[in-house]
Amino acid sequence: MGRNPVTWLGSPTFPDAARDALGDTQLRGNLRKATTTIRGKRESAVAELGDWEELRRAGESVKDDVLANLDTYLERLEAAVTDRGGVVHWARDAEEANRIVLDLVQAEDTDEVVKVKSMATAEIGLNEALADGGVNAIETDLAEVIVQLGDDRPSHILVPAIHRNRAEIKEIFAQMPEPPTSDDPHALAEAARKYLRRKFLSAKVAISGANFGVADTGSIVVVESEGNGRMCLTLPETLITVMGVEKVLPRWQDLEVFLQLLPRSSTAERMNPYTSTWSGVTPGDGPQKFHLVLLDNGRTSTLADEVGRQALRCIRCSACLNVCPVYERTGGQAYGSVYPGPIGAILAPQLAGDLHDEQAASLPYASSLCGACYEVCPVRINIPEVLTHLRAEVVEAKGKRTPEAMAMSAAAWVFGDRRRYEAAQKAGSLTRFLARDGTLSSLPWPGSKWTDTRDAPVVPKESFRAWWRRNRG
């Protein structure tokens, strides 16, 4: 079994990557503008519904039922898809899924496929695997086109090119056969349209992800904004869908809940512009061959963790990214994974499954635990709870010999007894002699991590408890 590509090979740890991103003022400007706008819009879209909290609870409980009975629903989905003329494949990991898809594409005797925007295929590194097999995968979502042609990595789940502005996009599009005439959004979209139309009309095979898969009916659902997904899902002869196993829903009517939660949380729309659903194959209409690849890739091991499993409720709306004060400043690439932001900080390390890896282990710490993510999550994933839970797992993986673990043990020993604590208070108050003019502006490491940018408080000679004892004791 190969390395799980959910985190990018060779990525620096979060603090190191963040340091570089913070220095990029263009990036910070782009991100601040984009996240502030979408934040405000989401708030108004959600405020329109009087039963938003009930909807969130409904979404949470449907997903929890799915996770508790995953085996049952998946087998039901497989039977329904097969009944309707589709073929179902099971993939244990990225390598297996990529192999299945490559074989299916090669069986159609083609070396180019069109793709619907999909997180699952990005997670398994499908485009790279197809390229190794001599197949060119063409992204068709406008933002994915920008990322792909820019030989770049995505920085947001929903808006993967959020870090780019239009001048940068014009430069990237210059390599198209008919490049844009200006950086006006209409000109950029027109250039992309001309480039993509040709691809849609010539492709024999399309590859998609799935937002939902309905067990009872075998229906797959993809929601999108541009209609480019609809082109891929209807024009080519063969359609291959890669779906994470947790995306299954029990009943058709469950969509009522999620088709309200998802667009309002992600694009702040009441309804997304394009909702495509299909059940197996319909003779004479749309793709005549349909393959569904059900992907595990770390999901069942995530499911085994009682606290961490709630991350599998995620419907990839990215509301948590848009409200996150850390994401807003560092951008998505700093997380070193296809899943950035707060959800990425809990999902990527769990899917990767190796907390001994320095990069993955740094992700649960990429948060001030402010809780803004939990507040907006449409399926009520308690992200701060999972973050602290994963931090405990990181600490366990690193062992007791790290300087931090030893400092924490010492602190716990001090707090374990009042006399030791009072002695430490007295010792701490000696730092007041380091102060100049009532200001403590330089401490030795690790205190320097504080005083590099902030003054430290001057610890007074008398603690509160000493005062209390003197006056009230």
């Binding site: 710490y365 001030s368 009532g438 504080w450 902030r454 509160f464």
Partner: protein
Amino acid sequence: MSGPRVALFPTCLTDTVYPETAKAVVRLLERLGCDVDFPLDQTCCGQMHFNTGYAEHARPMARAYADVFDSYDHVVAPSGSCAGMVRENHPNLCAASPAATRTYELSEFLVDVLGVVDVGAHFPHRVTYHPTCHSLRMLGVGDKPLRLLRAVSGLELVALPQAEQCCGFGGTFALKNAETSTAMLADKMRCVQDTGAQVVTAGDNSCLMQIGGGLSRMRAGVRTVHLAEILASTQEEPWVATP
């Protein structure tokens, strides 16, 4: 007849670094008729350990907290994050204790338990209020601190832009991700300065340590003062800046 028997849990940070805040809570609660005690056996709620991934170290601290505070009617902490740690996480670390459910952040205790909004305070300064994340999202204190501040005579309250954005403290986050923490702080300070306030207040000394540390470094001339100190200040006994 004496009022409710209240134990003060100033938190280890305030006990050690910001004793004036704890004295202010005592003064304020006694003025409102409470019988205040400070059990000397208390130390720390274990939040730093728990939030950094050392839950096993936090467990005995949670147990000790229950032992110290279980016999009181109420426990009051001038900190949203420590009160949140106790109420939300202590029951998962050790058996549910009366102390955990009876622990209140100061503004909650004043408004919900004592039922007062006007505490008779006087504070003639231009003030802006930063709602700290854990008081806002973990405890849900809502506008209670603002209602208390609006009732303070002489106080001019100015709204803080993007108030609900984190100041970047986040406990050990401020050290582990110091650069990101500082970038968040820079935006918070800009918002504070845009208000033209002389004082920025909050219900948590940890967040005020971050904001104040930044303001002091840039010689911004804006002071951080804990909510308790504003509410304790009166015409007769006005708040005095500590050196």
